[in-house]
Symmetry: C2
Subunit: 211 residues, 2 copies
DNA sequence: TGCGCAGTGTGCAAGTTTGCACACTGCGCA
DNA sequence: TGCGCAGTGTGCAAACTTGCACACTGCGCA
């Protein structure tokens, strides 16, 4: 049906069926994001999103329960990807290093972490209903991250602290990014914030608290 | 799924389902044409066409019985469109005028009559199996055209002559076009050929034989 | 000649999308 | 207050696609 190429990379181990499902979900998500940015969440109907995505209203419901779900799907997607990436870091790697490294792997995901993440964040700041969900997702991710770190041998309480610090850094990064309209790479900015977070709080920024 | 827009024109009275079917058929046809041009008909497998079009091998078979069918579908499509256009010309219009006018309506069809028609024609000239089918389609069209003209009140034998002359003109046009690699508009060239066809054969090109 | 193999056509079950019907909600308005 | 109406969620049947199995053909090669 698609008139343009969606083949390109023959590297996918997934079957045609699964690739098309992913593409549909992705298309609906992008349509939701696009229309919400343009008209505001309340002015956008499920039907409009479905039309924009090229699917029926019924199919929209097959993928997402609500508009908010569709808009924020990338959020959960990124969370899941990040979680997986951390879990897949080499076993011996110190936790903070693993977290920073995992962040780098977000790039090639189905959702580009630059334009789209900032769009979602701005939408969340504008729409309370989105913000709540976004924070909830973040909170869930924090729990999961801590669990993963514990699974890697980190002491439980320390895992929670690290996960909290890491996500707090990301929120700080996003806040800075959104406010400054900075053209810098999001991931570079995040790296800098993470570095600052890892320094001793009461000393001049020279030592390294990590590991 | 498709990641690019295939909505654009909301003018379609067709439902989503039919539009997607048409898009799939179109995509398979284009894929077949593209690959055949690139590698030659014999080097192209049904599976490769299906992949290129983004559908399964089974789905290819749901739309076309053979590779040749897929490549030449535009041919039959154009024939059907032309036939419909002639039938829809105003009742009082003289037959030759109606034929010329109908030809003009081919443009907005799903198959652009320029780049794609010439491609098909060249392929047909290169592949005997395609040529046979193309000629068969043409022959069928000639019958149908004559029938339509008769339906418009033209005397049967005259209908057949007119249809034959018209299609002969089109073949001549295509031959000229293909050989000259002419940058002129295909339809303009066709018009000129049709004008020549309508002139008295044994006189200087001044009088007008039509109607 | 016979074997293996790529390509093809087709039946069938399972998965996906569509279209439609119906119920329900929230909101403006008489 | 009650009515109408747009938007939404969901069940269901029909339509479409996929994946797989199986049979068949044509071709190269031992």
């Amino acid at each position: 049906m698609d008139t343009t190429d969606r083949n390109a990379a023959p590297d996918s181990p997934l079957g045609l069926r699964e690739r098309k499902k992913a593409a549909t979900r992705e298309a609906v998500h992008r349509a939701a994001l696009r229309l919400t940015v343009e008209h505001g969440l309340d002015q956008v109907t499920v039907e409009a999103i479905a039309d924009e995505a090229g699917v029926s209203r019924r199919t929209f419901s097959n993928y997402f329960a609500t508009k908010e779900d569709a808009v924020l799907w990338g959020e959960e997607q990124q969370a899941a990807t990040l979680l997986r990436s951390v879990a897949e870091r080499p076993a011996g790697e110190p936790p903070w290093t693993a977290l920073r490294a995992a962040l780098r792997t977000l790039e090639p995901g189905p959702v580009s972490p630059d334009r789209e993440t900032i769009t979602r964040t701005r939408l969340a700041l504008r729409h309370p209903s989105l913000l709540g969900r976004q924070l909830a997702t973040h909170a869930g991710l924090e729990q999961d991250l801590a669990r993963v770190l514990t699974g890697r041998g980190v002491e439980p309480r320390r895992s929670r602290v690290l996960a909290a610090a890491f996500l707090a850094s990301l929120r700080t990064t996003m806040r800075t990014w959104v406010e400054s309209e900075h053209p810098a790479e999001l991931l570079d900015l995040a790296d800098e914030v993470l570095r600052l977070m890892s320094l001793p709080f009461d000393e001049a920024p020279r030592g390294d608290r990590q590991a």
